[in-house]
Symmetry: C2
Subunit: 414 residues, 2 copies
């Protein structure tokens, strides 16, 4: 007697989303320049075209020497080496080091032939044309070795990474100007409702301004998708059909209102002329009448007309599906904080704030060893930051720490 | 004897940052359209230009009635009312309800004169030209009252809010097409170093590609700031001076390299010709040689040349200072998860995922009561989302819950 209005079956959020995602394929692959690659999803493994550093270089300011010449040196027993020139950063040295000689060198400069170590400036004293060495060095001390950071051909960034500023730095350091990424979807936005008028139009007494289109265009903007507002369709099959025809020139369509099962709710029926309905009705509040279809790899999201339900449906279904069009699933977001157990000791000095790059993986936090020059690759091999505050002398292995993700954690679909 | 190279004094990160921030004022105020306002910082309090809803409207599909006419109705004792027309959404009803009469109405439609309640369709039965009322209603039952969501003149968004998609929805629903926001800073990026070549240039054996500029341009892009790369200055005062002159046409300058205290580290000296050095040397690793100056309200950030130190210095100093140019400090980021104690009960149905809008404030979580139509304002009065998963029957007052922020939490400077 008392009618039950509603859906006969409602799907769980996860099952509805997975059904939708499984029916979508990645868009085409395009190239993007390294100066503006942020947020794009990498569509290829990027391999290092040369070694980094590309040559042995000084890791400290000081004197390039043959390590053997310094053995036994100390403050009380300085060893004298003859100064035979200097090497500046960016120049190819035209000197080679003979036994008993030293060459002045700065951090980052190419090691001259014959030299195999750098004595730090602090442990030397200039004496006319001679340098007094006050401390011995072992071979390769204070030298960043060719290839120690990145090997030639090594995969430096994997397909499916969402490119971050540090990745742009890594790519540039390898001389790479462009990378292949998945094209970002362009998304058409339509709202339906006889009661609606567009912003800027005059509203008579009973009309309501279209708030869903501005809201959803900004929600797309927030995630760097291009949004095309196609305005309002009245609750008529013809108007909705016409708007949908225009909308399907883009890669995805978001349409709000008219998604329930009342007599005016004609959206799912019209959409089904264009593509297959994947789900209609989900166990979610607000947002029960949410639906989705796919027409030739173009998702058509049908969100309820209520702005709250529309926005929550957008975050729940639209964003993950749009990322599927770029072949990835986001598992954890950049800047989110995560906890984990430290897998190694992290020393730090009292009074200094240390920004330690770590790799966070499934509740474990691995400190990343940073070699002399391995600074860029440390950002690629790590994915998170552990900040040691000024009042702590580091952390011990086994400590539970909180880290901040410095990149989105993604899963790539095949 | 053994020289100590470095800074005589190093400032703590917080003290350096606060000194810098205290010397910066907000940029000018500009207007932005509601369709693309996402991420802009509001420079004015926005007041509602009319009430929301702007008229009494039906909150359910059913029949608009005089509540008094339904008193005593039940399934076993239906009351007959005469059907005298219908009101569609978006139209101004030309009917008024006389005693003993009912008008068909849909959710969102304007209540006809004389009616003060809606009987849900489920509790009625159509019988020729009469409606059988199977359940009595109290006055204003299933009616969204004029102004119940937002009062005329009520401050709906405060100066200092970082505008979100839901705010765009609220503004549009009030017919507001543009709002006043702080202009976003345009930021010039320079790097220094004799060893550097620009991407695309041929690198001889000892040259290194400029990776800091692409990295920092992307880091600015990540935060929606306009980045202008001015390329490489060699380690010469003249070249740095020339680049700085061009850079100071913009609102802020980021310059990397040459910030330490060695003989080639001429950046702070040249910068001091243009403005006052605010700090030089901070207790941070990496990034100790970080410095900043201010020239006529334009911050000049001097970051170390090492990419890791440059990027961490960027996030530590540049981002907060650029937000100060828009008059706010970000206290907690949108999408971050926070914990708090629930200040009221949150019911939910087993098998349904509930998205509950809550206000998170200093470790307390307040559920937001959502009136019939109060959907948009619920997003403005709340700042976070509490998701009740399918397997839970809600939460009790006093439960510790985890919420997701749906907006950045900001402090506004005066």
């Amino acid at each position: 007697m008392i009618r039950e209005v509603g859906f006969r079956e409602r799907e769980s959020v996860n099952s509805a989303l997975e059904k939708l995602i499984s029916r979508l394929k990645a868009l085409d692959i395009v190239e993007v320049g390294v100066y503006s690659c942020y947020g794009h999803v990498l569509a290829e493994d990027v391999k290092a075209p040369f070694e980094v550093p590309p040559f042995d270089r000084a890791a400290m300011d000081g004197y390039a020497v043959r390590a053997e010449d310094t053995f036994g040196a100390s403050i009380s027993n300085p060893i004298l080496l003859e100064l035979s020139g200097s090497v500046e950063i960016g120049e190819v040295p035209n000197i080679s080091i003979e036994p008993g000689k030293a060459v002045k060198i700065v951090t980052g400069a190419m090691m001259p032939a014959g030299a195999n170590a750098v004595v730090m400036l602090e442990y030397t004293r200039l004496n006319g044309n001679f340098v007094e060495i006050l401390k011995s060095v072992t071979p390769m001390k204070n030298v960043s070795r060719k290839g120690e950071d990145v090997k030639h051909g090594e995969v430096i960034l994997k397909k499916g990474e969402i490119l971050q500023p540090q990745d742009a730095g890594v790519l540039a350091s390898l001389g790479i100007e462009k990378v292949k990424v998945y094209r970002r979807p362009r998304v058409a936005v339509i709202t339906t409702g006889n009661e609606l008028v567009e912003l800027g139009e005059r509203s008579d007494g009973a009309k309501i301004y279209n708030s869903n289109n501005p809201m959803l265009c900004n929600a797309l903007l927030e995630h760097r998708f291009e949004a095309i507002s196609l305005g309002i369709a009245r609750d008529s099959k013809n108007e909705i059909r016409e708007k949908l025809e225009s909308a399907l020139k883009y890669d995805a369509v978001v349409i709000t209102g008219g998604t329930s099962v009342g007599p005016k709710d004609v959206v799912p029926e019209v959409v089904s002329e264009f593509g297959e309905i994947v789900f209609h009705g989900v166990s979610m509040k607000p947002g029960m009448p949410t639906a989705a279809a796919v027409a030739e790899n173009k998702p058509i999201f049908m969100l309820p007309g209520s702005p709250a339900a529309a926005l929550l449906g957008f975050y729940t279904f639209v964003i993950p599906a749009l990322y599927k069009l770029m072949n990835v699933r986001i598992v954890a977001r950049k800047w989110s904080r995560q906890r984990g157990i430290l897998q190694g000791r992290v020393p730090s000095e009292i009074g200094v704030r240390s920004n330690v790059r770590v790799l966070w993986d499934d509740g474990k936090v691995y400190p990343i060893r940073i070699s002399g020059s391995g600074i860029l690759s440390s950002f690629v091999r790590s994915n998170a930051l552990l900040i040691v505050p000024e009042d702590r002398e580091g952390y011990e292995e086994g400590d539970e720490v909180e880290i901040t993700l410095l990149r989105d954690i993604t899963e790539v679909f095949e």
